[in-house]
Symmetry: C2
Subunit: 357 residues, 2 copies
Amino acid sequence: MTREQQVLDRIERMRRRKPVVREERITLAHGAGGKATQTLIEAVFLEAFRNPMLAPLDDGALVRLGDGPVAFTTDSYVVSPLFFPGGDIGDLAVNGTVNDLAMCGARPVHLSAGFILEEGFPVADLRRITASMAAAAERAQVTIVTGDTKVVERGKADGCYVTTAGVGVVEQPVTLSASGARPGDAVIVSGPIGAHGAAIMLARDDFGIEAPITSDTAPLHGIVAELLKVLPRHVRTLRDATRGGVATVLNEVARASEVAVVLDEERIPVHPEVTGVCELLGLDPLYVACEGRFVAVVDGEHAGQALDTLRAHPLGAEAAIAGTVTADPPGLVLLRTAFGGTRVVDVLVGDPLPRIC
Amino acid sequence: MTREQQVLDRIERMRRRKPVVREERITLAHGAGGKATQTLIEAVFLEAFRNPMLAPLDDGALVRLGDGPVAFTTDSYVVSPLFFPGGDIGDLAVNGTVNDLAMCGARPVHLSAGFILEEGFPVADLRRITASMAAAAERAQVTIVTGDTKVVERGKADGCYVTTAGVGVVEQPVTLSASGARPGDAVIVSGPIGAHGAAIMLARDDFGIEAPITSDTAPLHGIVAELLKVLPRHVRTLRDATRGGVATVLNEVARASEVAVVLDEERIPVHPEVTGVCELLGLDPLYVACEGRFVAVVDGEHAGQALDTLRAHPLGAEAAIAGTVTADPPGLVLLRTAFGGTRVVDVLVGDPLPRIC
C-alpha cells in the first residue's frame, strides 16, 4: 500500500467514525490540542478540505514542487464583516494568496491555513467559511495541505481571523518586479476597480446606503497565465490591487522603478455604482481595494496584444490601458483628470477603510 | 547586475533613507497598505529580517528548493503573555515552525510571517519581537522571506498574533508518520518535559508562585538531523510535544498506528521545579506544553543507539527511553506508575492552559 493510499485509508476510517462537533460555539478546548481540537479538525477542516496530503495528525505536509523556482507568500485576513455580498473571509483568504502567487508569475499549487478563532464563534459560521475556502481552492486548482487552529478568549479577536500561506511553481522564465517598469511602458488595469472595498463598506451597514455591488474576489492565476503565455518577455510588473487600491500599487511601482506613472482618469475602469458609493463616502476609487483585479505594466509596443489577451478572458472583459510610464518626475503617480488638469495621486495616508481584507 | 544585487541595492537605498516609525504605538494606518505600512515594513520588519529575498514591495518571494520532497507547514501563535522567561512570541513562532518542519524529516529553509496587530500595540514591543524572530531564524539557519501585516481595532486582538509558515527540504529518504509505530518500538523523549507551559503559567502571575523555570523553546532540526543521519530507516515517528504535551502526542500516535504506548512514570524526564509547579496547580506534566522537546518512536533494537545520539547533542543531554509500543490495547496510552500500578493516560479534555503557544 502506498503512503497516499494509507493516508486515504486513514481519512476513510475517520470518516466512517463520523466525529461530530456537538458544541454550537467554539470553546477554548477547541484550541487546546486535545479531544475537542481533534474532533474539530476531523469534523470541520478535514471534511471541507479532504485530500490525501492534508495530514491533521502530522506536523506538516510533504509535497513535490519540482526543480524550478518556487514562489512563497503569506497574507493574514481580518476582514469585517466576515460575510459580505460576493464572498466571505474564506474565499478571500484563498483567492488572495492564489493571487499573490500569480503576481509572482507562479502557478499556485498548495496552501496552508491558520485559524485564530474567538471563543464563542458559531461553529456553523466556521463551516460556512471552510466550505467557501474549499470551493475557492477547487476553483483555483490548489490544495489546502496543512493548517493550524488557535482559540483565544472572548474579546481577544473578532470571530475568526485566517492566515493563508501558499507555494507555487514558476513554469516559465519571467522577470516580474515592482522595480521593472520603464518609460514607454503601458499601465493596464484588468477590470473595473473598487468593487470589493465598496461591497465591504455597504455590508458594514454603517451608512444606510444600498447599491447592487458585490465583491470582485476571484482567482487571477488563469488570466495571468494567459498573459504570460502570450507575452513572456514583455510584462514588467504584475500587482493585484488590494489594500490601498490601484493608487497604492502604482505608487510602489513608480517608487521602486524610479519612473513616473501617468494615469488617464477617463480610461480607468470603474462601475458607476462604485463611483456613486465612493462619492457618497468621500472616497477616491483609486484607493479602494479590489480582490480580483490587477495592474500589469507592459512594454508599450505590446500593450494592444496584452489588452486583447486580457479581454479574451472572462475576468478581463473590461480591461483597459489606463496610463503610461514616463521618465519624469521619478517616483510619482500623476492623474490627467477628465477636465484636462493634472494632479498627483499620492501615497495613501491614514486608513480610510480599516479591515477591508 | 543580477536580480539579487538589484534587490540588495534597493534595500541599501531604503536603509540610507532611514525610514522612521514616529508613532510609539501601532495605529490602524499601519495596516492600511499606504505610507505608514510602508514605513513600518522598512523600519521594523526589513530592518530586523534583512535579506535579499525578503521582498516587501513584491507579493511573494521566489526561492529554490530543489527537486526533492518539500515539507510545508504553518502555525499561528497567540501566546499570553507575549514575553516570558526564556523567550517570547517571536522566537516561539520561528522555533515552532522550524520544529514542525524538522518533525517531517526536513531541513527548514524559508519562513513567512503574518502579523495581526492590535491598534495601540507598542512599536517597541514589536521591535523586540522581530529582533527575537531574527535571532531565532539565524540560530535555526532559516530566512524569513515574505510576510504580511494587518491591524485590527483596540479590543479585537491581544497585542500581537503571529502566524508563521515554513518550507523545508527533505534531503534523505525517511518515512515518518504518526501511523508508523509498531509493537516492540521504543518511545524516546528528547529532554525534560513541561518547562514551557510551566514558565508561561508562572509568567501570568495569577498564582503568586515563584520558581526558576524558563521556557524550553529551541530549534530541533539539528538534533533531529543527527538522529536521522545515524538511523535513517529505524525512526518511525517524530513529534514535537507542544500543545497538549507528551500525552497528547502519544495518544495521536497510539490512535493513528493502532498500537498501545506503555510509559514508565519513573523514566519520564521532568525537572523537579516543573513537577512542583504542576503539583501546586493540579496539572499533570505529561499534558504540559514543551517548545523544544520531541518524542521519537524508534525501532526497539536501535533504541540504545538512538538514545546515545540524542544525548550527544546539547538539546538532548537528558533524553530518556520513557516507554515502549505494544500491540494491545490498540489506541491507548498506559502509564506504569512509580507505585507499580497502571493507569490510562487519556486524550486531553478541556483546556487547562489556554494560549500556551
